[in-house]
Amino acid sequence: ARGGERGVVRVAVAANFAGVQEALAERFTRETGYAVRASVGSTGQLYAQARNGAPFDVLLAADTARPRRLEREGVAVPGTRVAYAEGRLALYAPSVDTVRGAPDLRARGWRHLAIADPRTAPYGAAAEQVLRRLGLGGAVGDRLVRGGDVGQTLQFVRSGAAELGFVAYSQVVAAPRRSYWLVPRALHEPVLQEAVLLRPGASSAAAAAYLRFLRSEAARRIIAAHGYDTPR
């Protein structure tokens, strides 16, 4: 099964984007007739798997570093990288009436601020930048708890274990507006997510179609509806 079945795109997708990718796949299949089979994982894991011969045609990473690296290492097809989404950071605090951002972070009424691990999760790195730019790096340092990824970070907050958390805006789009603060872009580097065509999908028409589809208007609308910005 090394070549994969004809007419199926094998997509490796970062966990935070798994939900959106499902909606995308449905639309894609409707439009093209190609089926999509998704493998969800963390970007680091998907990277390691891709390097070790995983049967993935397309990688939807949560960052730009690893697609670039795959390209450099010859695992991805050069020139196929595309930024398909830009994540927005949100400060989420379901237990606070109205979240205004920096003032809430300076307030004393909370014990734990959850962020994703800056070293492995782009949203974590972004959150760290926000704290630094707000001049809070030292003040909150010992009250930070780190989730392995944004998914866990959200769970820290949802369970009440942490009062505040920097999560992906895409995770809180459905939450009451006042319980989160959409962090201004200026406070952190953009969280760009790139997709890339991997070697096993190099000659797959379906895979090429899927990468094209990601940039299509229909796809952008779906992505935007899930709380991502869509880079040009």
Binding site: A15, G19, S39, G41, Q45, A48, N52, P55, G151
Partner: protein, 228 residues
């Protein structure tokens, strides 16, 4: 089927198959090893025993990472294997089994080894004088007398394989219908904030496993014979 998607059901099937196969393979692999450990006087005993415990100390994803590399087309085992004409080991059910067996080894070896140790020499000596060959003694005396240990090894291995997902996720690649197991599916649901199916799957896992364990522990442990 309620909140569960078809892929969830596929994952259930893959999980059951994986746990069953892994448990059987583990028993087959661990039993002779444990037997040797329980009886040898070689200086190799302690090192080998310690070695068999090592898979536990690496975080599963990390262990998975190394196994993925070793079994993958670039790794020492995978390369040789594929050069010999073997199908790719990773991202297949076979790969999952290899990873799960490796990770489950300590759970199987230790209880078996203790059970064999607890038998003592005497029943085996008696059997030897009744013309039972070493293999015969092993099969007809040692194995039945080691039943509690076998039971424990099997239940720990089974339960652990059901719940494990780090190694499996890494080696299997989480491919629906092939290598996606329930544990990963639950994990994905939780990550995707789909709490309803996560709860249903978790509850199902717990209920099913409880039922299995209950049957095993009820039937498997006949009350021991009373002392006269």
């Amino acid at each position: 089927m309620g909140p569960l998607a078809p892929s969830d059901w596929q994952a259930v099937l893959v999980t059951l198959r994986l746990a069953t196969v892994t448990t059987l393979v583990l028993l087959v692999v661990a039993t002779p090893l444990a037997w040797w450990l329980a009886r040898t006087r070689s200086w190799l005993r302690a090192p080998v025993e310690a070695l068999a415990g090592l898979p536990l100390v690496l975080p599963p994803t990390v262990l998975g990472f190394y196994v993925l590399w070793a079994l993958g087309p670039l790794g020492p085992i995978g390369r040789v294997w594929e050069r010999l004409g073997g199908d790719r080991l990773v991202f297949s059910f076979r790969g999952l089994v290899i990873g799960s067996v490796l990770y489950g080894l300590p759970f199987a070896v230790q209880p078996l080894r203790n059970a064999f140790g607890a038998i003592g020499e005497r029943p085996l000596e008696v059997a030897a004088t009744l013309r039972a060959s070493p293999l015969d003694r092993f099969l007809t005396i040692a194995l039945p007398l080691a039943r509690p240990g076998i039971l424990t090894a099997a239940t720990l291995a089974f339960a652990h394989t059901v719940g494990e997902f780090g190694v499996v996720l890494m080696i299997g690649g989480n491919i629906p219908g092939r290598t996606q197991v329930v544990s990963v599916a639950v994990y994905n649901h939780v990550e995707a904030l789909e709490y309803a199916p996560a709860h249903v799957l978790s509850a199902g896992l717990l209920a099913f496993s409880f039922a299995v364990l209950l049957v095993v522990y009820t039937l498997g442990r006949r009350a021991g014979a009373e002392a006269p």
